[in-house]
Symmetry: C3
Subunit: 253 residues, 3 copies
C-alpha cells in the first residue's frame, strides 16, 4: 500500500499524475490520498498530519510526503523505515518525528531507476512516485539509498510548564474550526489537579468535555489525536471565538 | 466495495485515515469517496446526496455515511440493509429515506471487534471504518448489531400542492450553481397541464428545457436526480439569479 | 486502468457516482482521479491538464474527460485511440491535441450498452462511465463507435515570434500561484541568444532559474510541463505580482 500526503491541492493534475506514475510501475498496488490540502510549503502541517495518520494505515504502507519548497536544489530525498513501515520525503524535517531504536534513516543516491531527465520542479512525479512504486514491488531500499545517521530536524513548539500553569499554542485548525493545541493528554493528566481553567483570547473554559454536545458556548476536550482541543458545539470555534493558528493560551491549575 | 460520504472535507487527514483503517482490516476491498464535501453537520445534505448516489454503485456496496454532530454521546450507530446493499451511519436521520419491505434496521451493540479505547470525537476512524471493513470481509451483521424496529427520522421538506399551484423549495445548489428543488418529475407530470410558469425571486420561467443550451437567460429542466432544477445556460444560476438554499418558489399551471 | 478528468468538483456526488457506475460494470478495474477541479465549462483548462497528464499513466489507460456544456444536445461523444491509450470526451475540442499518424478517431453510435433513458444532464454517469467500464473489460471500440475522419478543434493560443521578441500568454495558474505560459522550452531554446528579458506587468526578469529557491523577488524557469513559468520563491506569483490568466508578456532577446 502507498499513501500520499502533499501540498499539491486537488485543482491541478499533480496528485493525479503521481498516482498515474505509481500505477505505470506497479499496477497491483493500492494508493490512498491522506490529504493534498497542506498549506503550500507548510512543513509543520505536513509533519503533524502524517504523525497523526500513519498508525491507522496497514503496517506495510509506504508513505510518500511531498511538501518540498527545495525541489531541484541539492536537498536530499530520504527514506525512513520504522519496522515494516516506510516513509519517503525531502530531507526538510517533515519526518523528524520518527525516532527511536526501531527507526532507520536512508538517503536516496543516484540509481538506475531514476531516469536522468527528471524535472527540477516536480519530483513527486519524477522521483518519489517511481521509487515508492518500486519499493512496493519489493525492490530493496539498499538498491536505491544508503544509510545515514541522521535527518533534518523540524522544530515543534512544545508547551511550557510552570508551577501551576501550562502555556500552550494552537498548532492546527481543522475543517470544522476546532482549534487543536500542542498540549497532550499525558502532559495534561500529569500536570492538572482536580480543577483548571483554560484561558484563550479573553475566554475562560473550566470543564473538560468528553464530546462536542455540551450546553456551553465553548469547551475543551481531548480529540482523536489525544491533544487538547477548543471547540464550539455545532459551531466553528476558530471563527466564533476568533482563535487563530499559533495563538498562545494558558492552562491554570 | 465500500463507499464513504462525510462532512470531513479534504483539507485534514480524516477521510484518508478512514480509508487507511479500512485497508488495515481488509486490504482487498475497494473504496470510493462519494464526497467529503458535505457542509459541516448538515444531515439533510448528506441524506440527499446518499439517496441520489447509492443506486449507481455496485449492489453489494457498504455505504458509510459519517455526518455525526452527536459523536461520543449516547446516540446509536445503525446499519440498514436493503437487499444486498448495506448502509452505516449515526442514528440521526441520515438513512431515513431507506424504507419499504425489503429494508432491515439494526443498531450496533458492544462487540469484540470494537477495541475499547475508541475516541469520543472520531468514530469514522474508530468504529465506522473498522466495522465496514469487517462487513466487507463477510462478517455477519448479526455479530455486530441487533435488529431494531425503527430508526430516527429526518424531515424532508415536501412540496405543497394546491389547486393550480405547487409550492416548492430549493433544497440543494450544486458546484455549477444549478438550483435543485424538491419537485420531482412524477409530481410535476401529475400536476401540470400543457403550460405552466415557475416563479422564483421575481423571475418567471415558462418552458421546460431538455438540456442546458437554451437561448434564454434562465431555464428549468429535470436533472439527473429527476428533480426540477433552475439553471442559467453556461452560467451560475444561484449567483446570477440570486437564488439561495431553502428559497421557496411557485409553479402555476 | 481508467482515469477521470472533469469539472464536477468534489462538493457534490458527481465524481463519486461516476466511479460507482464504473465499479458496477467492472469491479476489477482501478480508477484514478486526475482532477475534478476544472473551472466549470473551461474546455481549454481540461484539454491542457489532460495533455500534460496522460503520458504519466499506464499505457493502457482509458481517459474519461467530461467537461461538457453541451450535454444533452446533439453533440457527439468521441473516442480517440492513440496506440494502446484510449480517450473519451464530448466532441467539443478537448481532445484535439491528440494528432498524428498513430491516432484514430471514433464517435459513439447508439448501441445496446447505453440503456435508453439516459439523463440529459449527466452523461458522465449515464454514458461515459458505463462505456469506459465496458472498454476496460475488453469490449471492442467498434461495437460502441464508428470511425470518423476528424474531431472538433480547440484553439490554443500560440506564442507570436518576432525578430528579437516572443510574445506569449499566461495560460494556466496553478495552486501555488505559479504562472504557466504557452512558451515551450523548445521554442525558447530555438529563439533566445545568450541573454534575454521577460517583461510582464511592469516587471522584468533577466535570468532563467533551474529551481524555485533563488534570492530574487521573482524568477522564470521551465516547469515539469516544459513550459516557461513565472514564480515567486516560497510565494504566490499570481497574487504577489498581480499576474492573471491570459495576461500577455514579452520575451526580448
Amino acid at each position: 500500500h502507498i499513501a500520499l500526503l502533499t501540498d499539491f491541492g486537488l485543482q491541478d493534475n499533480f496528485a493525479g499524475v503521481m498516482e498515474g506514475m505509481i500505477y505505470r510501475i506497479n499496477p497491483h498496488v493500492t494508493v490512498s490520498h491522506i490529504t493534498h490540502g497542506i498549506k503550500p510549503q507548510d512543513l509543520f502541517q505536513a509533519s503533524f498530519l502524517l504523525r497523526h495518520s500513519y498508525k491507522h494505515f496497514p503496517e506495510k504502507t509506504i508513505f510518500v510526503c511531498v511538501v518540498d519548497p527545495g525541489v531541484g536544489t541539492a536537498r536530499d530525498v530520504i527514506v525512513v523505515r520504522k519496522k515494516a513501515t516506510v516513509f519517503m520525503a525531502p530531507d526538510n524535517g517533515i519526518l523528524s518525528f520518527l525516532t527511536g531504536r526501531d527507526t532507520e534513516y536512508f538517503k536516496i543516491v543516484p540509481n538506475k531507476f531514476i531516469p536522468p531527465p527528471a524535472s527540477t520542479t516536480f519530483h513527486g512525479r519524477d522521483i518519489f512516485s517511481p521509487l515508492a512504486a518500486l519499493l512496493s514491488k519489493g525492490i530493496s531500499i539498499n538498491k536505491l539509498a544508503r544509510t545515514v545517521k541522521s535527518i533534518k530536524h523540524l522544530d515543534i513548539p512544545s508547551p511550557v510548564k510552570g508551577q501551576k500553569t501550562v502555556k500552550g499554542k494552537i498548532i492546527y485548525i481543522d475543517r470544522f474550526g476546532n482549534c487543536i493545541s500542542n498540549v497532550s493528554r499525558d502532559l495534561f493528566t500529569a500536570m492538572t489537579g482536580s480543577s483548571f481553567t483554560v484561558e484563550i483570547n479573553n475566554l475562560k473554559i473550566y470543564d473538560l468535555s468528553s464530546h462536542y454536545q455540551i450546553p456551553s458556548k465553548a469547551g475543551v476536550l481531548f480529540n482523536s489525536f489525544n491533544l487538547l482541543e477548543i471547540f464550539v458545539p455545532n459551531g466553528n470555534a476558530s471563527q466564533e471565538l476568533g482563535i487563530t493558528l499559533n495563538m498562545p493560551f494558558t492552562i491554570k491549575i
